[in-house]
């Protein structure tokens, strides 16, 4: 259990430092089952910070979302650090960003938040309905206890956890400068049964499935923008010269977009599930990413976002790498 008082104290301490310019964490949302990510610049705002099962978002996404406009002549760039609060899953994004040298290790202060699982908004909405007030959620044993519009309701933890939490193997942050609570016991395991299940479909069934899913896509790019690993300054799908993907939406261009994105994430996706969570038209994007993740794991014994010292999979070579697919 995370003591929010301690979390806020730690945040204040970090924000009071001269070499820190902002801190990314979570605060209470304005309605419903999810928190809001928050960027705090002053210690006086730290009282807003929370951590509970509504804190599904990955704060690591916001490290790379920050624009770096050119510094006006005569001014010095702001080199102060960014502090970020991360759950275990979120920390894998920081690890992978460091592996890819997205920023230097001493450019960030990582406050680790051991986590016992967050609630999936869609599952909670189906069980308890919608509300225009913020919902409070507490974990009690194998249940989540909700306060919805002043009423207390309970639901089984196993049915309400986000999918990523059901199979979570890393509830404790893998990289941190400080932990804000004691480490928790690992409860999950990942046998890729969802991938096995999907692979049972025939090629025709798979095509029909994805054709229907991609036909819904409105190309809002929320999946790409929220992704902590999609931090290219210019994305291949928005490039105009040459234009690899058309801007028009149809099942062909939408499919091209999603397949390109899945490929660009192979060996890089850290499975925070944010892409699928944010999708306004419920495309099961993680089904694509999970297949790539398993292939990478089986073929190259590689898992991204685990080891800060690792080399990025696609820019290293091992003579033992399988080559069956080449010949």
């Amino acid at each position: 259990m995370v003591d929010e008082k301690k979390l806020r104290e730690k945040a204040k301490e970090v924000l009071a430092r001269d070499d820190v310019r902002r801190l990314i964490g979570w605060k209470r949302g304005t309605y419903g089952y999810e928190s809001a990510p928050v960027v705090i610049k002053d210690a006086s705002e730290a009282e807003e910070l929370i951590f509970d099962p509504t804190c599904v978002q990955n704060p690591a996404s916001f490290i790379t979302l920050e624009e770096k406009p050119p510094v006006p002549r005569g001014q010095e760039p702001d080199t102060r650090k960014v502090a970020v609060m991360v759950k275990g899953c979120d920390s894998r994004a920081v690890v992978q960003q460091l592996v890819e040298k997205a920023y230097p290790r001493d450019g960030v202060i990582v406050l680790g938040v051991p986590c016992t699982g967050v609630v999936d908004r869609r599952k909670a909405q189906k069980m308890f309905g919608d509300t225009s007030e913020p919902v409070l959620i507490k974990e009690e044993g194998d249940k989540f206890v909700f306060t919805i519009d002043g009423e207390t309701k309970e639901g089984p933890r196993a049915e309400l956890l986000a999918d990523k939490c059901v199979r979570c193997r890393f509830p404790n942050p893998l990289v941190y400068d400080e932990l804000v609570a004691d480490e928790v016991a690992v409860w999950g395991a990942d046998e890729f049964t969802d991938v096995d299940e999907f692979e049972k479909k025939s090629p025709e069934e798979k095509w029909k499935f994805w054709e229907e899913q991609f036909s819904k896509c409105i190309r809002c790019y929320s999946c790409r923008n929220v992704c902590p690993m999609c931090y290219c300054l210019e994305c291949v799908v928005t490039k105009q010269r040459p234009q690899w993907t058309r801007r028009s939406t149809d099942v062909s261009e939408n499919t091209a977009y999603h397949i390109q994105r899945a490929w660009h994430l192979s060996g890089r996706c850290i499975e925070c599930g944010e892409c699928e969570r944010v999708c306004p038209v419920d495309i099961p994007i993680m089904t694509l990413n999970r297949k790539m993740t398993r292939d990478v794991k089986e073929m190259f014994s590689f898992e991204p976002g685990i080891d800060v010292e690792a080399e990025p999979l696609l820019s290293c070579y091992n003579p033992q790498d399988p080559e069956e697919y080449i010949m």
Binding site: V38, L65, P69, D130, I218, Y221, S248, V278, P280, D282
Partner: protein, 344 residues
């Protein structure tokens, strides 16, 4: 105009009787609803709240061909919608219909847009009043309401076993005749009025818009925008799913010798939207983009067309994955200390 009714279990027959119309109604793919042309009337249902994608796409599709051409030749083949075709939008929510009346002001302004106008003028709108507003609805603050008639040709009230239909225009009357509806009495009218009142009471979120359009320009450089823009993903959810957002990009697409000029939804939340050829971007960060989205709806648009470009459907709040809540922004804008006014 007239008062009609039909038994809800006869819904398929009623819709099926519209043989002279292309009928559009909410269609589900999994849990996702959007308006599509009805192929089988038995699949039409009145049991839904708001569609995920607003029916603006019926007048202003995600992607549409403007004209076709052959590479190296000067003739073009226009692809303007046929105004004489009869289209009927069945079950549109009052907020989404009201949105057409706002977007119309722009699309019929200095240069009448034949694509939007062609579809709009050939469409009959059969609205469906809301009995169960969704959590972030605030239509009653924006001059609409669960039983608002703005922009509609007829309004339906789902009363359980019976559907009460109130026609509002000649086009609505004509369509009601084609549906073969029976006359409604005082009982249905009373039940509809009671339902509307009850639905109004269920709307929890409100906004007093007084003074907002005048104040926003004075907050041009105000740091309060960053409280929201710092967590913005710069994605297209809020604008693409907004029933009044109407911006588009234009692209030429060719395949060997055949080409088309097409337009597709664009959004001021993408950095490419305002990127100049020179490489300069006047809205370089999410702060300027967030400010523009809100200011355009609540200040620049009303300044020009005398109406706020927001109907309170709540979609930008419901679907924002990082809880950027337009009502929260506007409430905070009222409290922010104004500086000297500056225009966009």
């Amino acid at each position: 105009m007239g008062d009609y009714k039909f038994a809800k279990d006869k819904l398929a027959e009623v819709v099926g009787a519209l043989k002279d119309y292309e009928v559009f109604a909410p269609t589900a793919v999994g849990d996702v609803l959007r308006f599509k042309q009805v192929e089988d009337a038995s699949g039409v249902s009145l049991d839904y709240k708001n569609t995920n994608v607003p029916p603006k796409e019926l007048m202003f599709p995600e992607t549409e061909t403007l004209f076709k051409f052959r590479v190296g030749q000067t003739e073009i083949e226009p692809a303007v919608p046929d105004e004489s075709s009869k289209r009927l939008v069945f079950g549109i929510r009052p907020c989404d219909a009201m949105a057409y009346t706002i977007v119309e002001k722009l699309y019929s302004w200095d240069y009448p847009d034949p694509y939007f106008e062609g579809r709009r003028s050939s469409s009959v709108l059969f609205g469906l009043a809301c009995s169960e507003p969704v959590p972030n609805c605030f239509c009653t603050s924006m001059g609409g309401g669960p039983g608002s008639e703005q922009g509609l040709d007829a309004l339906m009230f789902d009363l359980g076993e019976t559907v009460y239909v109130k026609t509002l225009t000649d086009a609505g009357e004509e369509a009601a005749k084609a549906m073969g509806l029976e006359a409604a009495g005082d009982a249905e009218k009373k039940a509809a009025a009671a339902q509307e009142k009850e639905a109004q009471g269920k709307i929890k979120r409100t906004l007093d818009t007084e003074g907002i359009p005048e104040k926003l320009p004075s907050l041009y450089d105000h740091p309060f925008w960053e409280e929201f823009s710092d967590r913005c993903l710069s994605c297209g959810i809020c604008t693409f799913l907004c029933p009044t957002c109407h911006c588009f990009d234009i692209q030429d697409e060719t395949e060997v010798f055949n080409g088309r000029r097409a337009r597709m939804w664009d959004t001021c939340m993408f950095p490419e939207y305002s990127l100049h050829t020179s490489g300069h971007n006047p809205r370089p960060t999410r702060k300027e983009r967030t400010r523009n989205r809100i200011s355009h709806k609540y200040s620049y648009f009303p300044e020009k067309f005398d109406v706020i470009a927001c109907v309170g459907c709540g979609r930008c709040i419901n679907y924002c994955p990082v809880n950027i809540d337009i009502l929260d922004i506007l409430e905070k804008s009222k409290k922010a200390e104004a500086k000297e006014a500056k225009t966009a």
